[in-house]
Symmetry: C2
């Protein structure tokens, strides 16, 4: 069978699966690669935060095996002598190696698979991971949920969030998990399942993947470079359309509070020279005050009381080159008329006994549109088409997707525990199809925080979720970078974040400094967008501060000036699936130092960004791979190694490659910096 | 085999072990009672706090079995068809049922055994448990350790303790775990092992016992009443000698700071009418200041600089009827001469590679005397005999015992992971033998917080460890009661606590109110003793407050007045093994309400104590079983049910049975209350 590119080598001790010269799976009698067992899970959800405990009743090694081969496939039966068994089929298809799980016997609902590892191997991915880019040394439960407030058990904020609302989270909590990882052995591995999973990268010589239902397959694909590898990943999972042209006109300004207020803030920003591409009013459908802050009224249509004349203004704005963006999510507030309609049509998920299921979103209750019912899905898509697209919105935050409770009953008859992780992808598809069917793909921009396998194909832009308004490592400004890099490795090449962060709780308040540093980073991401946060009145807002507006004028001008380069990157993403923000090692594979850098990134192949993520800093240390670099704000030249630069406000630690074909453009940006930057943006 | 009182009933589905009409263990093919497997543990110790994680590589049900019987024993072989097996021998011996673990095969270091349970069954014990008396619904890791500061993840104190020193603890952390539980099905079950264990009482129809090494046996003994059952338990594990007669003279006053200061505080208490039996100076061997507070200098002999003339004063005090008590623990500070001697003699535990092992006790470092070396054990016993007993001490706190690191090398060649839990019992035996061999049993009183299986036989008195100086449920005043009741069910009939608590950290300070309430409880325990706490200068001290001294005069007078009754209880403990403090159900078995009461207790069969454990309370609700009760401080009569009484300071919620043979004595106590109680003890 030497025409196969994969080998299943058998000896009396066990077998080895090899693919493109990579040992992927070694099974021996004493170190089996497959375990099966039975667990009883307790899954508790409180406002999107999950407490999941599993009582493992059995975990049985499948030591024995039989191998049969035909011309194209290898069949492996694994078994214990006690009635547990698992049948696999190994085959190659479209340059990918599939290990299909055909069936199992015995009382089994847990599966563990061990993938060969090297001691110095690093792995990345698993969706959008906010705390750690290199996943080695930790385990990562894969379950879409709230990401946590603070996400660090040693901080006061996390502890308070835990005590007050079970909401503190931990390093692995994410809106967007995915059972896919990329190895520095130059392969990626995808486990096709939507059950609860836990990928454990703690062990020296193997990675252990746990899954709570028989998966469809494990798939491997290899490449010779990381660029090629990520291109293959995105080819498999799907790629995003281009960003709409209007995005390159500047910042999407997040404002709330009604037509007059929004326009007033917008005009102030414009007067101060801020380049704007959009005006984003997440409360366009009205709002609700809770103890968390100002929340939205979850009934998705224009609220003419709160936004009088928006139906006219939206077109006037478009004429001025500024697009209007709104908000939607897949839940319906009980008091709204959309809920009533969905309820009457039987489009809402119910309790297992058929009773109404209302989910607590924090002092208000909502129904869940049952997307597994094709009629309900089409109906909701219709809501998007009519209430959002026809009304004239050019974009929206397509929020949430993580709250499917595991104890509800769905139309398609599949357990909600299995559908839970899929929900964000279905939600993305609902938005995507609304765009596609109205011919608006590439013109309308919706952005999501939730995701799962396949979201790449549907979601036009990710946003990093609800960071705390601080400089904390696990939930502040800098957590956005591992989020961008990991989701980028999964084929989501377009990422951005709330400039200034979102969550202000337990005394934490956004400072002006935080806002300025965040804006300096955001100018080197695909999209710039501000958010007022959950408690706008108590937190720093850029439109209240002339200095910050001037700083934002600079950063948005830089963004706009760079747009030819950015457009090229976005095109690469759409055509080749290479993300806009990339880890350093993607372009400097031979430089071992780059593999653990998670707080710097390449913005395309020619720009290196090292955001200042600490408070009160005037100098910043940066690692530059061996190359010729120019500090963009000053024109100062550097070679590789650890260097330091001054980082007053308005002079971010951003470098471009001297040999770039965009050098002329970058020199213009340097000129712009020199012209526009001020010595003082106020304190 | 009808002469056996146990039955092993076999059918084709499985087997059932029955003993004295109780189904103890049901094994079927589909629900096996035995699992074996392999785990890789990570055990980290930081200052006596352990983080223990186990990666369970396998957990295999032993579904198959063979049973062989002879005239006295039943042999059960359990096995999987994959090389895992376990051989048991069931037999009765001295009215106890033993299931002995004879051997196992396969790669195994984890064992799980399921004991039959009823849905409404309750279980108690597992050593000294401070948070929950009824253990049902939770799992209890059994590993001697620091008990935790706060012990409640929702409190600020616990969080701070966790962040600052990994020391917050949780509901199951205890100085004294024991793999023994008592069931309301009127049996107790003991698993003979000292490995890490975890007893899981969460399941409806079984209790699952996990142990990390093959145990020697599981043993069951049954009885018709709880009194009989606890008597059998203590008969098996051993019973305490009587308390010394001098204890009944009053309170043991805890003071520190040298001869003059100690005598001054003692005299002030005596002047105010406080009845004293002892003066306890834990710093008799000198001290050391750390950030935690005033710590002791761990070199166990009189410090004449700090306690000048103590060698004379100790005998003068004895003449006045006041005994002097000191302190010792099984570790030696590196700077002391005892360390030097032990080191030179090779009596200290070492690292696995033979290097010196110094344990961090919080800003100072100590050697561990290797008690598995008989010479070292005898030498340390000699230190106790010479430096403590010969010097004239009449008692001491025999502190610690929980800190044996799992990565040290011991003389007996047994893994420190297996010896860790045994250490407190060996430490107790060292003290016990020093007393016994000098003829001082029943005359000298040492008290310990640490324990394990068998500590009953050696430890003359338990104390409840280091409560926080507050009213918190899991670590304050009231946590002492589940501690007394659970350890009492294990055969430790003598228990007491630091009046006013011990641990003052992170802004927590002892209040006068806490001290008064604690003293009101302590008067109805075997021994009254105060402690200045870890930060004496910052916390309320009774000797600084005239009102509190007057209150203490009342409570110590009550204690002394009640001593004939208490002596009778202590005698019952020594002779019959019935603890002094008992759960209500021990005397009211038919009253279902009593089985979940863990914050009231019987003080012998005739007194019911319901300590006030909340702040700022003037009335207190008490559950009285059906009987005729008299409120001791007032003489007011009650019948059973939920009643309320006024609880001003000096009038605790204590009731006696009208029909008690001690009624005359109790009436005298009521008279004493009425004569001595004041309307106002100051604020």
């Amino acid at each position: 069978m030497n025409f196969m590119t994969f080998k299943v080598q058998e000896n009396k001790e066990g077998f080895l699966i090899e693919y493109n010269s990579r040992n992927l799976l070694t099974h021996t009698f004493s170190k089996p690669a497959f375990y099966v067992g039975y667990g009883e899970a307790e899954i508790e959800m409180y406002r999107g935060n999950f407490k999941i405990q599993d009582y493992k009743i059995s975990r049985v090694p499948l030591k024995h095996f039989n191998i049969k081969k035909d011309s194209e496939k290898v069949y492996i039966d694994l078994y214990s002598n006690d009635g547990y068994s698992l049948s696999l089929c190994v085959k190659e298809m479209e340059d990918r190696l599939y290990i299909e799980f055909e069936r199992s016997t015995g009382t089994i609902n847990r599966y563990w698979i061990r993938i060969d590892a090297d001691e110095d191997e690093k792995v990345y991915g698993c969706g959008e991971q906010m705390s750690y880019f290199n996943l080695r040394g930790r385990n990562f439960p894969l379950w879409t949920s709230e990401p946590g407030v603070g996400r660090d058990k040693s901080t006061y904020i996390t502890w308070m969030a835990d005590v007050m609302g079970k909401a503190g989270g931990d390093y692995y909590n994410t809106n967007y998990p995915q059972p896919t990882f990329v190895s520095t052995r130059k392969y990626y591995c995808h486990l096709e399942s939507s059950a609860y999973m836990d990928f454990n990268f703690k062990n020296k010589y193997y990675h252990e993947l746990e899954v709570w239902s028989i998966p469809k397959y494990i798939m491997f694909e290899t490449a010779e470079t990381f660029i090629e590898l990520v291109s293959k990943i995105s080819s498999f999972f799907g790629r995003q359309p281009l960003l709409p042209e209007w995005v390159y006109n500047g910042l999407i300004l997040g404002v709330q509070g009604g037509t007059d207020r929004a326009l007033e803030k917008m005009n102030k920003a414009l007067e101060k020279g801020v380049k704007l591409s959009g005006l984003w009013c997440q409360d366009w459908q009205g709002r609700k005050i809770t103890s968390f802050g100002k929340r939205l009224f979850w009934n998705w249509k224009w609220n003419p009381q709160m936004y009088p004349e928006l139906d006219k203004k939206i077109w006037e704005l478009k004429d001025k080159g500024i697009r209007f963006l709104g908000y939607i999510n897949p839940y319906l507030i009980k008091e709204g008329d959309l809920y009533k309609e969905a309820y009457e049509k039987g489009y809402l998920a119910t309790k297992l006994n058929g009773e109404d299921y209302l989910v607590d979103f924090g002092e208000f209750y909502c129904g869940i549109v049952d997307f597994t019912n094709p009629e309900a899905f089409e109906w909701y898509k219709g809501v998007i088409k009519k209430n959002l697209i026809e009304f004239g919105l050019d974009g929206w935050m397509a929020d949430f997707g993580e709250y499917l409770p595991t104890d509800c009953k769905l139309y398609n008859g599949v357990s909600a525990e299995i559908m839970h992780n899929v929900w964000p992808t279905i939600w993305a598809r609902c938005n995507y199809e609304a765009l596609k069917e109205t011919g608006k793909l590439g013109e309308i921009l919706f952005f999501m925080r939730a995701g799962f396998t396949g979201v790449q194909r549907y979601c036009t832009l990710l946003w990093a979720g609800d960071q705390s308004v601080d400089f904390s490592i696990h939930d502040g400004l800098v957590s956005v970078i591992p989020g961008a890099l990991s989701s980028g490795m999964m084929g989501n090449g377009l990422h951005h974040s709330d400039i200034g962060g979102y969550t202000s709780l337990f005394g934490l308040k956004r400072t002006k400094e935080l806002f300025l540093r965040w804006a300096e980073m955001a100018a080197f991401t695909p999209v710039m967008r501000t958010h007022e946060g959950n408690r706008p009145d108590e937190n720093f807002q850029v439109y209240d501060d002339d200095g910050a507006l001037e700083h934002l004028a600079l950063m948005t001008s830089v963004y706009v000036k760079l747009s030819p380069y950015l457009k090229d990157l976005v095109k690469q993403n759409t055509e080749e699936g290479i993300p806009v923000q990339r880890p350093l090692f993607m372009h400097y594979e031979d430089d071992k130092n780059t593999y653990d850098i998670q707080y710097q990134y390449m913005y395309g192949k020619d720009i290196l960004v090292a955001p200042v993520y600490k408070e009160g800093v005037s100098r910043w240390s940066v690692y530059l791979p061996q190359d010729e670099w120019i500090h963009m704000p000053t024109g100062q030249e550097f070679r590789g190694g650890y260097v330091e630069v001054d980082v007053p406000f308005g002079k971010p630690a951003v470098f471009y490659r001297r040999s770039s074909e965009y050098r002329d453009l970058f020199e213009e940006v340097t000129k712009l910096f020199k012209e526009m930057v001020k010595d003082d943006y106020g304190s």
